[in-house]
Every structure is written in structure tokens, then in C-alpha cells.
């Protein structure tokens, strides 16, 4: 997990920056990074792949209510169910976080590209990558609940 010690702080900083500046939502870090997430209930996950010199995935996992609030704030429209607007908004959050992660990682001259963002939703699901990855899960407190930013990078 050593490689993450360096990027955790920058990732936390850029997550807070995106939420404060783009989503207009106050969030804060909630304790130490986790190593396992367990199953997600009534949630929506935004994810984007990283390819090139570093391969991996960035995912952001929101409970439904937090996802709805993020979408309402971000798009400036009221949403009350997980629809296409919510999927687009959560995908875009993942895309922005992925863009920042790319910059954080390629500060060291690494050439990285992002895939298209995608969203996953369901009543209950677990989310995981292949075994040989470094993984970190950062918990954040939003006004209506806790959400997680997860990064998995191939060695």
C-alpha cells in the first residue's frame, strides 16, 4: 500500500476541491482509508478505467440519496429517482476524479489515458478488481450520507 501513501492526500484534496467547486457540496474525510468495502446497498457507482503506463480503475460509490443530492446540486435540477441524469452526473464525477488522479500519477512523467465513465447501480452488489492490484478506499462524509472513492492500480 506504500504507493498510495503519496497519492492519498492529493486524491483527498482533489475530491474535496471537485465537491466544493463543481458540486457545491461541503464534504469532509471520514477517518482512515479502508482496505475493504463489503457489499453496497441501494447504491450507484461511477467508474472510469485508467490505461497506459498505469492501469487501473477509479470508482466512486454513492448511496442513492447522496447520489440524488449530488446530481441535484451538480446539474441544478431536482431529481428524485436514479435516472439518466443521475447516471450522467455520477459518471461525470468519476470522470473528473479520474482526470485528477491521472494528473497526480503522471506528475512523475507517466502517460495515462482514461476510458469512458460507466455507472453501476443495484439493490445490493459488491465491486472488486482482479487480485493483483494496490487498492485504497477513501470514505467521505456528505450532508446526507457517507460515500467512498476507490482506486485500484495494477502493480
Amino acid at each position: 500500500m506504500n504507493s498510495f501513501a503519496e497519492i492519498n492526500d492529493k486524491l483527498i484534496e482533489s475530491t474535496i476541491e471537485i465537491f466544493t467547486g463543481m458540486v457545491m457540496m461541503e464534504i469532509s474525510v471520514l477517518g482512515e482509508p479502508l482496505t475493504e468495502l463489503g457489499s453496497l446497498k441501494k447504491s450507484i457507482t461511477g467508474m472510469v478505467g485508467l490505461a497506459g503506463t498505469r492501469k487501473g480503475v477509479l470508482a466512486v460509490h454513492f448511496p442513492r440519496q447522496v447520489a440524488l443530492d449530488v446530481t441535484s446540486n451538480f446539474l441544478g435540477l431536482e431529481v428524485s429517482e436514479v435516472n439518466e441524469d443521475v447516471q450522467d452526473a455520477i459518471g461525470e464525477i468519476a470522470n473528473m476524479l479520474g482526470g485528477n488522479l491521472k494528473t497526480i500519477l503522471s506528475d512523475r512523467g507517466r502517460d495515462i489515458q482514461l476510458s469512458l465513465p460507466s455507472t453501476i447501480s443495484g439493490d445490493e452488489y459488491s465491486f472488486s478488481s482482479q487480485a493483483e492490484v494496490d487498492q485504497v478506499i477513501l470514505p467521505f462524509q456528505a450532508p446526507s450520507g457517507v460515500f467512498y472513492v476507490e482506486v485500484e492500480l495494477e502493480h
Binding site: 453496497l40 478505467g49 492501469k55 489515458q113 482514461l114 476510458s115 443495484g122 452488489y125 472488486s128 485500484e152
Partner: protein, 152 residues
Amino acid sequence: MELEKHLIDATLEVFASMIFIDITPEAPSDEPISVLEPNLSSLIGLAGDLKGILAVHCPSAVALGITSAMLGMDVTELGEDAKDAIGEIANMVAGGLKVALAPTGKKIELAIPTTVIGKSIRTSGLSGATRIMIPFSSPIGRFGLELRFILA
């Protein structure tokens, strides 16, 4: 479309070379993946000249059947083994697509496969992307191969 052919060829090759289950591609479909009632979906990001997400969507029985066939042992639970097996299929199909597109000058790079296991899973891409969904039938049931993409 060429892409559909590449996807079908890559999938058939993966199954013929390492899974040994006879699968048959059906006509590409506009149906949402929910018609397949997937319990396990493996997704892999594609970047470069074709930006997208490729996904393999399997109901439980199909995921377990494929995993058992691949590992040569009876796998009865959707867990690590199934995750690794279907994730590897997503990875190899994406790799096949990459190789098939190389002669056309389109370069793509792969991210790593990620797997979601659960009930009533729904996945979606950005609303502007093109979607290809190819259902496959097999003796152990149907599964779906989905690509959402934009061309750079």
C-alpha cells in the same frame, strides 16, 4: 458493422481456446442488459482512439458454468473464482478487439477488469456513447457482451 464482427470473433476465440463451451452469437440487440438478469458483470475500460467500456454480463448459472469449465472444477458460489474467470474473459475479449483494430491504425489501451456481483445490477454509460449488445446462447444459458464507446 466491423466492430460487432470483431467482438463476436474475439469472444468465440476465447471460448474455443480456454472454456470449451459451445456458444452461439445472436443478432445484436437494443435490449437493456436487464433482460439477461445478470448477477455478475465484468467491465473493462478502453482508452485511446476508441474510448469505451466493454462488459460481460452473466446470470449466476452461466457465470458458474463458465468458471467451472475454465478451472476444471465444480464452482458453486459466485465469489473470487467467478470474478477472476469472467474478468479474464472481459480482459481477453478487449485484448482481441485491440488486436483486431490495430491494422486499421486505431490504437486502444486497456484498463483492468472490474467485477460487480449482485442482484438486479444495472450498468450504463454516458448518454452520448454508441452501444453494441450481443447476446450469446449456450447450453448453460444466455449471456451478453456489451460495448459502449465513442471514437476519438
